[in-house]
Subunit: 222 residues, 2 copies
């Protein structure tokens, strides 16, 4: 448990952002290993990184000699290894709801809008930038509209997605709202999600995980 932690991260990756929040909420110290997704033809495609993660994606968490992939599986691992404060609530039913919200973002929004997908459209199909941006916005609006319906007026919703403790769903929601703004999505449709986001970003654990606070963020983004 005292083995050092390293996070292979890219400042603007929303999957890496999730894990940074989780590590911060657990109060764990970690070193950032920057993997630049655009430089050198994408450093995630290097032979060295492929040995760390055959999927050639960030994040990866290094814990001792282990190299752990998939942001949600990493958050579950953190919660099992360092149970307090918990990222998941105490009943199976509540945990199901939190995981479903997290997966809504992690399966049904983010992978559709990932860098590699947008590169495919540009390189294979010559899809112009405005149509690529429209695609991104389409899936964000689809997903966040469902999330808004699942959160607004739900009896389990509190200051955060589930009750009054920030957890796994919040770790996914906040990075996705950052992405939504980046692509110019009209945020007025998501009042409950925005209220939760604001509460999260008041916490130092979320604030320190923001893209613009990262050591590999370019000067102009800070």
């Amino acid at each position: 448990m005292s083995e050092p932690l390293q996070l292979y991260s890219y400042w603007r990756s929303s999957a890496a952002y999730r894990v940074r929040i989780g590590l911060n909420l657990k109060g764990l110290a970690y070193d950032i290993v920057p993997v630049h997704l655009l430089h050198d033809g994408g450093q995630q495609h290097s032979a060295e990184y492929r040995g760390i993660n055959p999927q050639q994606l960030v994040p990866v968490l290094g814990h001792g000699h282990r190299r752990l992939s998939q942001s949600l599986a990493i958050l579950e691992y953190l919660d099992e290894m360092w149970p307090t404060p918990a990222l998941l609530p105490s009943t199976a039913r509540e945990r199901q709801r939190v995981r479903a919200l997290a997966l809504l973002v992690a399966c049904d929004i983010h992978p559709l809008n990932n860098l590699r997908v947008l590169q495919y459209f540009e390189q294979e199909w010559n899809v112009p930038q405005p149509e690529r941006d429209e695609w991104v916005r389409h899936w964000i609006v689809e997903g966040l509209s469902a999330a808004e319906a699942m959160v607004a007026d739900h009896p389990s919703t509190g200051t955060y997605c589930e009750g009054n403790t920030p957890g796994m769903a919040d770790c996914c929601l906040v990075p996705q709202l950052y992405n939504a703004r980046r692509f110019g999505v009209d945020m007025a449709r998501f009042p409950a999600l925005q209220r939760i986001e604001a509460a999260c970003l008041e916490l130092p654990e979320f604030d320190a995980a923001r893209p613009e606070r990262q050591p590999d963020a370019p000067e102009k983004a800070r």
Copy 2:
């Protein structure tokens, strides 16, 4: 715990297929509520179904008055409510690996190739069928190549993805290989995955979950 279970399912949905396997492995009885993704403009878009799942996707598990979405969150719920036989192994490190394999399929392959995405390409961008099929195969090959690397020769791999007990990763892998064949992917590149698939499909719990065994499968598919 004795409340009845209903699975809102579509015979060929690979996310519903995952949950059918999980329910069968747990030995739980459940009723299938068919949701036809193509009939009536997509029954998942009806007002009634939107009330059940704002995401308008299958599967949903009904358990008493609860309606649970997201296949992996449902599998976790099954594992917590009915712990034996377990879908997840006993150590945090092994669980991380199993969840990462499951998420590799559930986040980084399947959502890219889902019906709604292919409908978007056809209806919004007029992408011809051969290019849509090529897109599907591209992400399957990307994802399964990484899964093959994570499974082949790994010390934790046994008869199944993790050891000699079928679990959550197998619940995701088998439906994804079904999809891969459907789209004509060259399977020879995935010997370890195919070996695990064959072992799984020898089990009655997997066999009964196959698309062609479902009550809503068309006659010609059986």
